[in-house]
Amino acid sequence: MPDWDAKPPADRDVYGTEVTQAETVDARPQAEVFDEQIEEGAKPLGLWSDTWRRLRRNKLAIIGLGIIIVFITIGTVEEVAFIFGHPVTPYPPDEVNYALSPQGLGSPPSLKHPFGTDYLGRDVLSRVLAATRIAMLVGIIAVAIALTMGLILGPISGYYGGAVDSVIMRIADIFFAFPYILFVLLIMSVLGAGFQNVFIAIGILGWATFARIVRGQILSVKSMEFVEAARAQGASDLRIIFRHVLPNSMAPVYVAVAMAIGGAIATEAALSYLGIGVQPPTPSWGLMIADAVNYLTGGNWWYLFFPSLALVLTVFGFISFGNGLRDATDPKLKE
C-alpha cells in the first residue's frame, strides 16, 4: 500500500522533481495561488473598456469618432462665442463685403479666404464654422427631445404591457407610417419656420424609434431572473424599471443615438435647403447649399463644396461611429 499521507521531501515537488528554494517559499494554499495567477493573467475588463477595446480595432469607427470630436469642439466653441456675442471665426460670418464679390459672383479660395467668398463677399470658412454650431445644436437637442420621450414611453410600454403598450405602440406606428420628410414638413408648416421649431419637429418625430428599441429590449430584459431577484428584495416598480431593467437595455440605444444625431443634422440641412428651417442670415449648411445651387452654373464650386463637405463629413462621422459602436456592443460578435 502506498503511504498517501507521506509528504514529499522539502526540495522535491509531488512528482519527485527537484525544485529550487525560491519556488517553495510560497507556502499558501494552492487555491490562493491559483486565484492570484488567474488575476494576473487575465485582468477582467469592465463593460466599457471591453467595448472600447473592440471599437478601437474598427478604423472607420475611430475616424468617425475623430470627426465627431472635431465638429463638436467647433460647435461648442462657436456656441460659447455666440453667447458672448463674438463669433470665433476669421471674419464675422455675416459681414458683407462687395469688394470681395466682383460681378456678384464671389471670389475663389485664396490664402486670405481659404474657402473663398460667396456672392455677397462673405467668408465661406467663417460661415461654415458658424453653421457648425447650428448643426450640432440641432443634432443634440433634437435627439435629446426624442430620446427623453422614448425613454419615458418605451419602458412604460414594455414593462406594463397590455393596453398601455398597445396604445403607445399604435401611436408609434402612426408616426412610422408617414414618409419622414413629408411629416417633418407638415409639422414645420404647423409650427412655422425657425430653428427652435426644427428641434421640436425632429425631436417629436424621433421618439417612436427610441421607444420601439427600448420597449423591445425591456421585453427581453424584464423576464430575466435578476429582475425577479430585485423584486424579491423589495424594490418598487419604478426602481426596477430605471435601476435594473433600463441600464441593461441601453446598448442598442446608444447606437441609435449616434445614428439619429447624424440623421437630425441631415434633416436640418434639408429643411433649411427647402427654406422652412433655419432662416437667413443665421448661417446653416443647408441654407448655404441652397444659396450655392443658384450660382453653380457660374463655376463657383466653392460655395457648394465646403458646406456640403462639412455636412457629409459630420453625417458620415456619426453614422460610422454608430455602426462601429453597434458592432462593438454586439455580444454575438464577441471573440
Binding site: E32, A229, Q233
Partner: protein, 341 residues
Amino acid sequence: MAERLLDVKDLSTQFFTHAGIVKAVNGVSFTLDRNETIGIVGESGSGKTVAALSLMRLIPDPPGRVVEGSLMLGERNLRTISDDEMRGVRGNDIAMIFQDPMTSLNPVMKIGKQIGEAITLHQDKSKREAWKMAIDLLARVGIPDAPKRVDQYPFEFSGGMRQRAMIAMAISCNPDILIADEPTTALDVTIQAQIIDVMREMQAQFSSGVILITHDLGVIAEIADKVMVMYGGRTVEYGPVDEIFYNSHHPYTWGLLASLPRLDASEKERLTPIKGQPPNLITLPDGCPFTVRCPYRRPECRDNWPELEIVGAEHGVHCWIPVDERQGLRVELPHFKESVV
C-alpha cells in the same frame, strides 16, 4: 418552544390560462420555526417554486393568483397586507436566493451596489454605510479580498462566487426567513458543498428559518430538519428528515429515494426511475395526483384525496394504503432491501 416564524395553511395557487386552470399548488400547509430548515422536495412541476413565490407574492398576476389559504408571517397575513407593506416584507423579513447565480445578478451593477440596494431599501443607512456593510457581508460568505471584490461587476465573479454574493444579498437585512430556490442546482458538485456550508453558517449567525426548495435529496439530507414531499401541487408526505429517509410512508417518496444513484450498488445495477410522466396540472384528478404512476394504486385513489394520517412524531402522510400494509410494501423495494431498513 421555538419561535414560530411562518404558518402556511391550505395554500392554493392557480394560473388562469387559455388552456384552462393550472392548479399549481393545492392546499399545502406547513410551518417554519426560528433556526429550522424545511426542505421542499418534488420533481419539476410539483409546485415547489410556485409555493415559495406565493409566499413572496411574486406570482405574476395575471395569469396566476393565490386562490385560497392563509400565509401568516408572525401576526401578519401575507395575503391581505397592502402592496407597500409587502414590499417592506420582501428582502427584509423574507429573502430569496435564486437558482441560477449567472442570471440572478444585474450584469451592469456592481456587486457592492446590488447588496447595498437591499440595505438602503429597508434600513436607514447611507450609501456609504451600505457599501461598507456589503464588504463585511461578502467577507462573511467567504469571498476573499472582499474590499476589492465589492467594486466589481457580476461577470468578474465565478458561478460559486456569484451564489455567495446572492446569499450575502439575501442576508443583508437579517431576514427571519430565507427561501432558497434550488440554490445549488446550477453549480458544479464541488461548489455545491461549499454553498451549503455557507448557507448553514449564515443560518446559524442570523438564526433565520430556511425554506429550501430542491429536487436533490442529497442536499436535503445535508441541511434540512424536516422535509415536505410535494407531488402535483399537493403535499403527499412530511416529516423530520430522518423519518423521510428511513421510515417513509408514501409510494412517491419511496420512488424518489429508489431513483437515487448509489455508490454501493454493483456496476450492472440500473437506476430505478419512477415510471410515467409528471401529471398535467390542468386535468388533475380529485384524488391523489400520483395515482396513475403509483404501482400500488387502489380503486379509491383516483377520486378521493386521503385525509392526513399521522404516522409518527411530526410525521404525516396522505395515502390510501393501510399503514400495516405499507411497511411490507416498502421493504420489497430494491432500494430498501439491502441496507436502509
